[in-house]
Amino acid sequence: MQMVTEKLEGMDVWLYHGQIYIPNTYSAGAVGSRFLTTLRDKGMILGMRCSKCNRVYVPARSVCTECFAQIDEWVEVGDKGTVLTYSIDYETKPVMQPVEPPVVYAVIQLDGADSGFAHMLGEVEPEKLSIGMRVQAVFKPKRERVASILDIRYFKPIS
């Protein structure tokens, strides 16, 4: 690989633009694995409901953050939701997500869920974003899904 060096203007100093990659691997766990395989196999977003406080968590999680109860009830939530908050990333270098900048990140409350779900928005003009706008999940075609959170390509605005 060609190294990138640059001589600084007016100085006898050279700058290296280095970039190393740190490989990471972790297990999605029992609950996370079921969430992801359902996403892949059925194109369906699952949450879990706490039997004590009735909150529905998306993505699914096995312990309630409010009452610390063990959760074991799976529920299906809709693929439509409401934007709780968003952020536009124009300077996404290096690109963590396989999309071109600008990337619009958003926290979405899916219909039937009580928690926010972080993902990206697509097919959207950054100027036309607003909190509270309605969005819908756009899934990848089934043969491209690999049980990743990116099996949902993005959420697109709906009227």
């Binding site: 050279w14 700058l15 290296y16 970039q19 990659y21 691997t25 297990s27 999605a28 694995s33």
Partner: protein
């Protein structure tokens, strides 16, 4: 029978970008290599040894080196070498270098020690004391990476 649950492993590579500056001493070496294909070091005012990589303070005499530069000869003698089997890692990008040339400490003809690669990969032909000469990257635009502007040292007959 209940189906065995499928467990998902999530793998990703986290990029860690960083900038690294040579400083002005090493910057002089980079500039001479790129512009003139010259190997330069700085000379200690006390012991007269020429250091490459250059240094602001002489490691032997612990005195200020000043700004006294000298061109180094590009021929030398293999002082010692090691045959690399496992490829080196590029420290800036974390990738494996494709060509693991033998790595050698070369005694340049003025008496400066310098570490670089040898072109000769045949183990039978490698020996201490062999005469070598620097081979530069010829393309101006490919130079600008300091010591890596020299590809390797080639065996010469004298």
């Amino acid at each position: 029978m209940a189906k065995e649950p499928e467990y998902i492993r999530i793998a990703y590579k986290a990029p860690r970008p960083y900038d690294w500056s040579t400083g002005k001493y090493l910057g002089k070496v980079y500039a001479e290599a790129k512009e003139n294909k010259k190997l330069v070091g700085n000379r200690c005012p006390k012991c007269q040894y020429i250091w490459l990589p250059p240094t602001p303070v002489c490691p032997k005499c612990k005195v200020d080196m000043g700004w006294d530069w000298a061109e180094l000869p590009q021929t030398g003698t293999v002082y010692q070498y090691t045959y690399l089997v496992y490829p080196l890692w590029d420290p800036h990008y974390g990738e494996k270098w494709a060509n693991p040339y033998p790595s050698a400490t070369i005694l340049l003809d003025n008496g400066t020690f310098y570490r670089h690669f040898l072109e000769e990969k045949d183990r039978e032909k490698l020996k201490e004391g062999m005469r070598v000469q620097a081979v530069w990257k010829e393309d101006y635009n490919e130079r600008g990476q300091g010591v890596q502007d020299i590809l390797y040292f080639r065996t010469i007959e004298e």
